[in-house]
């Protein structure tokens, strides 16, 4: 098992590492964008000051950075709230920024580049105009990309603030319209929770987990896969103590058409990070994927792809698994009748770029 996985499961395990192992742990944590989170684990376990001086410097350095990041995140959230205030819509934050405003443990040591918000689809235009007026511009001027996003995707093209260079993704759903698992966004919006004393809203706890799950397991990007899996692990542990949590989680998965994503989330957080999940829930999830063979292959792919340390311990299998899952994510995203023209168009554009 990789040092990083072990450290996340059992932080005390790091106390027995020698210096070359520490080099590897720091390297893998930095590569997986979880060094500050590792620091948070060690701090919580009360062993931060017991680790050797050299790795400690790197962990403290990343904790310092994480603190500054939180500060700028808070400011960015304030700016978005101010820009959208006149519209009088509940401002729903998603993913990293949601964990932050909700004070979830998954926000600890989480460094990310975009803020994601969810707005009702019929208010998209107003939101976009308000953001433009406040200094955000669209990040792509390519007419094909613009059309592709607006026609098929669950978000408008990412926007970037002219001065601060920060990014915002404005969503109207959590999956593309073309994806067969795409839920009814109204059901998400109807179930949101307001952060007391603010105009910030977040998805209900179960929906937050389901969104995190669907983002990871329907998406094609596994560069940050381990970090995202750790988010799920932290969210599940945090909410598990709520009354009827597991029943409610399963119920919401059904309502939002996310049973498959939930099945993977439970299976792989448990397999990779030993997340405690009641056996009947776990078995139930596995039985949903009754084809044993397909589950066998998915295990092979996901367990490899979600390994931290890609690119530094030269595991070609991880790269192959990630490539397969990247292809799979496109199958899931849209029907072949749309996918093939899209890929063709994209590769022609790429070739044009190379020739030009």
């Amino acid at each position: 098992m990789s040092l990083l996985r072990t450290a996340f499961i059992k932080p005390e395990s790091v106390l027995s590492l020698d210096l070359p192992q520490w080099s590897q742990l720091i390297r893998h944590a930095r590569r997986a964008n979880v060094l500050a989170r590792l620091g948070f684990y060690l701090k919580t376990a009360g062993i931060l000051e017991k680790i050797p001086a050299q790795p400690l410097l790197h962990i403290k350095s990343s904790l310092t950075f994480a603190k500054a990041f939180e500060c700028s995140l808070q400011w960015e959230i304030h700016c978005i709230e101010a820009a959208l205030k006149p519209l009088d819509i509940p401002l729903v934050f998603l993913k990293g920024s949601a964990y932050y405003v909700a004070g979830n443990s998954a926000a600890k040591g989480r460094i990310f580049s975009d803020i994601d918000i969810l707005v009702p689809e019929n208010r998209l235009l107003e939101v976009e105009v308000a953001l433009i007026n406040a200094g955000w511009i669209t990040s792509t001027l390519d007419p094909y990309d613009q059309k592709y996003y607006r026609q098929w995707m669950h978000e408008i093209p990412p926007m970037r603030h002219l001065r601060r260079q920060t990014s915002i993704d404005v969503h109207h759903n959590i999956l593309p319209k073309t994806c067969k698992f795409s839920p009814d966004a109204n059901k998400l919006l109807a179930n949101t929770v307001q952060i007391p004393g603010t105009n910030a809203w977040v998805l209900a706890p179960e929906d937050r987990i389901l969104h995190s799950a669907t983002h990871l397991f329907n998406g094609g990007e596994f560069e940050q896969g381990f970090r995202d899996l750790s988010d799920l692990d932290l969210l599940l542990k945090e909410f598990a103590s709520q009354e009827n949590f597991w029943t409610q989680l399963r119920y919401r998965a059904e309502v939002l058409n996310q049973q498959t994503a939930l099945c993977y989330a439970l299976r792989y957080t448990n397999k990779i990070l030993n997340t405690p999940i009641p056996p009947e829930i776990l078995n139930n999830a596995a039985n949903r994927r009754n084809a044993k063979l397909s589950l066998f292959f998915l295990d092979l792919l996901f367990v490899s792809a979600l390994q931290p340390g890609y690119g530094c311990h030269n595991n070609p299998w991880t790269e192959i698994a990630r490539f397969c899952l990247f292809v799979r994510s496109h199958w899931l995203k849209m029907p072949v009748s749309l996918l093939l023209p899209h890929l063709l168009k994209k590769s022609l554009k790429q070739m044009n770029k190379l020739i030009a």
């Binding site: 020698d18 210096l19 070359p20 520490w22 080099s23 390297r27 930095r30 590569r31 050797p52 050299q54 790795p55 410097l57 790197h58 403290k60 350095s61 990343s62 310092t64 950075f65 603190k67 500054a68 500060c71 340390g309 890609y310 690119g311 530094c312």
Partner: protein
């Protein structure tokens, strides 16, 4: 063991294999590279640095290698990788040694928040560290390179590492980067200076690196107390002129020239405050290196 005690063959082998580990100031780095020019760069400029064995902690794992693309046959390039990913776009093959220096600058500047990192050169004499800060092109590297050629200890070029807990400047005495006409100025000023391979047409123009004195490298575990903060300005034909600068102005100018000032927040502000309180701050214009060095040597005595 010092790098100069190894043969070129064994250096090339280490670089191409598991990597060559070096102690550079407070940092341990491991470099892998299949590029011959990188090995030559190390042999020419890093001879006095110690090679580490496999039992040490490694702060930064970096590599300089050509990308695996067909393009390598047409217009060869090199990539800088850190922890197995590529923070920068590839550069032309000929710039490999300089890319290593720039990449390592970035590694240190973006992952060492135990220091306040000022875009400045630092040199030391008689236990007094002088910090030369300022925008690129102000002549801080040239001035510190010349001082180092006249017996000052090189603490660092490009970045001054100010420790927030003890207020000392920590050494990273890596090769001094010289650009364009500075190369000729230093060659004339000190014919003994060892300058590595020259790379033309980089983003910064023509670039070469000067080997740090062996004595600076040998003392790289010893930090020094900053006593002067100087903003040099090279102006052709100008008089040597040292003008006192208020501490408040110096602080603001330094804040603009830090790599991680905003990441450190209040700690960074306090650190700069303590630095300016404890040092004399000056604007400095010069055109004659000998006069400048005589003046600073006097100040440090």
């Amino acid at each position: 063991m010092k790098l100069s005690a190894s043969s070129r063959k064994s250096i090339v082998q280490s670089l191409a294999g598991k990597g060559l580990s070096l102690r550079i100031g407070s940092f341990n780095i491991r470099l892998r590279s299949s590029v011959g020019a990188v090995a030559d760069h190390l042999i020419c400029l890093y001879g006095a640095f110690n090679i580490l064995d496999g039992l040490d902690f490694i702060d930064f794992n970096v590599a300089i290698n050509p990308p695996l693309s067909l393009r390598r046959y047409l217009r060869p390039q090199v990539n800088f990788s850190f922890d197995g990913y590529f923070p920068f776009k590839p550069l032309p093959y000929a710039q490999a040694p300089a890319f290593f220096e720039w990449g390592l600058n970035w590694c240190i500047a973006s992952h060492s928040n135990q220091f306040l990192i000022i875009h400045a050169a630092a040199v030391e004499l008689n236990g007094q560290a002088f910090i030369f800060a300022g925008i690129p092109g102000s002549g801080k590297s040239t001035l510190s390179a010349a001082m180092v050629c006249r017996g000052w200890r090189l603490l660092s070029d490009e970045m001054t590492l100010l420790c927030l807990s003890d207020g000392l400047a920590y050494p990273v005495p890596r090769p001094v980067s010289l650009k364009n006409q500075s190369l000729d100025i230093i060659r004339q000023f000190s014919p003994d200076a060892i300058i590595g391979s020259i790379v033309n047409d980089t983003l910064k123009g023509t670039v070469g690196h000067m080997r740090p004195p062996d004595s600076s490298v040998e003392r790289s575990a010893t930090p020094a107390l900053p006593t002067k903060v100087i903003f040099p300005k090279y102006k052709q034909g100008s008089q040597t002129e040292l003008a006192p600068l208020s501490k408040a102005k110096a602080l603001l100018k330094l804040a603009e020239n830090c790599f991680n000032y905003s990441a450190l927040g209040k700690e960074g502000f306090d650190g700069l405050g303590r630095l300016c309180d404890a040092t004399d701050c000056y604007d400095f214009s010069y055109s004659n290196l000998d006069e400048a060095i005589a003046l600073f040597t006097e100040l440090a005595s």
